[in-house]
Symmetry: C2
């Protein structure tokens, strides 16, 4: 990282102090991660907080860009500051100016050249589905409500067929034009959470779909959730879904895409050499 920079006013690159910021945010009030003019975004909000606290204008890298309405519990953003900070003080100072719906849960020194997306070796996302007759008031921004019972056994059978290294072209697109659509899915787990059992009301339960992969295509987690729920509702056959990863079609099929508000970015893993 001792290459000369083109920014005339920048300090030498080797004097920069790189940090990894772990973020939690409620996506309900944001137009997604990526900065856009005139829109309230997580990236724009974090950049403003960093500028307010440090007086520095920085560039951010992010482990993954989340869509409008999607939430994050362990998003990681990387930035480099010219002035070094005690990580705990940096975290506290940022949280003092950040709005209530975004918080830095950890700030840590990162190695020179740290890139939150390129350095990550695994990610996990969780998707929350509620099966109930009426919409939910409390969970309306955090879970997708579907009508009708979910056949969890059928969903688990087909989930297993997604595990492994496959061409997921049917499930999303590469962040780079023409980039590879092959990804390594380490696990797909489905857990059922009982939310309430009330006499006279159909049992209210939520199904949490957790996918761990080396990386995700754009839209991939929402397509996986949408397709698994379609199988659970009996609207799609499991073999049909399994075939899409075994023999990816030439044309991307119209897979059902689950809405963003049920999506929770959960965790990013880096090699031990990058973060402690």
């Amino acid at each position: 990282m001792s290459a000369p920079t083109t920014m005339s006013d920048a300090a030498p690159a080797d004097a920069l102090h790189p940090y990894a910021l772990t973020l939690e945010y409620d996506g309900s009030g944001f137009s997604g991660w990526q900065r856009q003019p005139g829109r309230r975004t997580v990236e724009g909000t974090l950049l403003a907080a960093i500028a307010a606290v440090t007086g520095e204008e920085v560039r951010l890298t992010a482990a993954g860009r989340t869509d409008a309405g999607a939430h994050a519990h362990g998003q990681v953003a990387g930035c480099s500051l010219r002035r070094g900070w005690d990580p705990g003080r940096l975290r506290a100072a940022l949280n003092a100016v950040l709005p209530a719906d975004v918080v830095v849960v950890e700030a840590a020194p990162a190695p020179a050249g740290f890139h939150a997306r390129l350095d990550a070796v695994a990610r996990s996302y969780r998707y929350v589905v509620m099966s109930r007759g009426e919409r939910s008031a409390v969970a309306r921004q955090y879970a997708w409500r579907v009508r009708g019972p979910l056949d969890l056994a059928a969903m688990r059978r087909v989930a297993a067929s997604l595990v492994g290294t496959h061409d997921f072209a049917a499930f999303g697109r590469s962040p780079r034009r023409g980039g590879s659509t092959t990804r390594r899915v380490d696990s797909v787990r489905l857990r059922q959470l009982a939310l309430a059992e009330r006499r006279g009301i159909a049992p209210q339960s939520a199904v949490v779909i957790e996918v761990v992969a080396d990386a995700f295509l754009y839209g991939m987690m929402r397509s996986i959730a949408g397709a698994l729920v379609a199988v659970g509702l009996g609207r799609m056959r499991g073999e049909q879904l399994a075939a899409l990863v075994q023999r990816p079609p030439a044309q991307r099929p119209p897979l059902p895409v689950a809405p963003a508000h049920g999506l929770h970015q959960w965790r990013v893993t880096y090699p031990q050499t990058v973060t402690r």
Copy 2:
């Protein structure tokens, strides 16, 4: 219920059609249950929906009045309509006009003279506490965040001392002036939910305190949660709390009161003769 009514335009009372409405609401945007002029309340919102759908102005009874910011998953409201409705159609019609943060999860016919508060034989409330170093973005409106670890074993020991029929005067006040402050607490359960385990971050976990009682004093659940958390944080001795129900003091002591946004009204139980 055949007593004459003083309202000249009312149908005879025995021609009324009583309903029990089970409600879920997100209290974040409401100034509590009870109707107040110029404030957005759940009662006012439901009354407006009933008027819009049925053209009738009714009175509501509620199993329990919730505070501003507190949530409900199984609140029960009673009302009597002059025109009879198919319960499923009534529920769907109300939900079509209610805002996103309140929903009728069930409408059921109720017996003549049904009163949602007086007829209830048991209630349960849940209180959610998160112990973590930083505030939460996603759970900020649904859980109380406290710093420092919670000694769950100490909380469970003292929780057991609350069970039974006691004078809970130290924990709240009667809904009626001069009314009894004796209540029968059937159970106090504490469950720990692991929300995330991330390397480098203190384990994030939530403790759910569930109390089942025949009835609650105003403020009682928030005082129980506040006191149990004070014990869990080592700021109050368990014996001190236990003594308050064994020998209620003449003057109400300044018990810590947990904030309303962690409070979730959960369920109301009626005798089988009242609801199916």
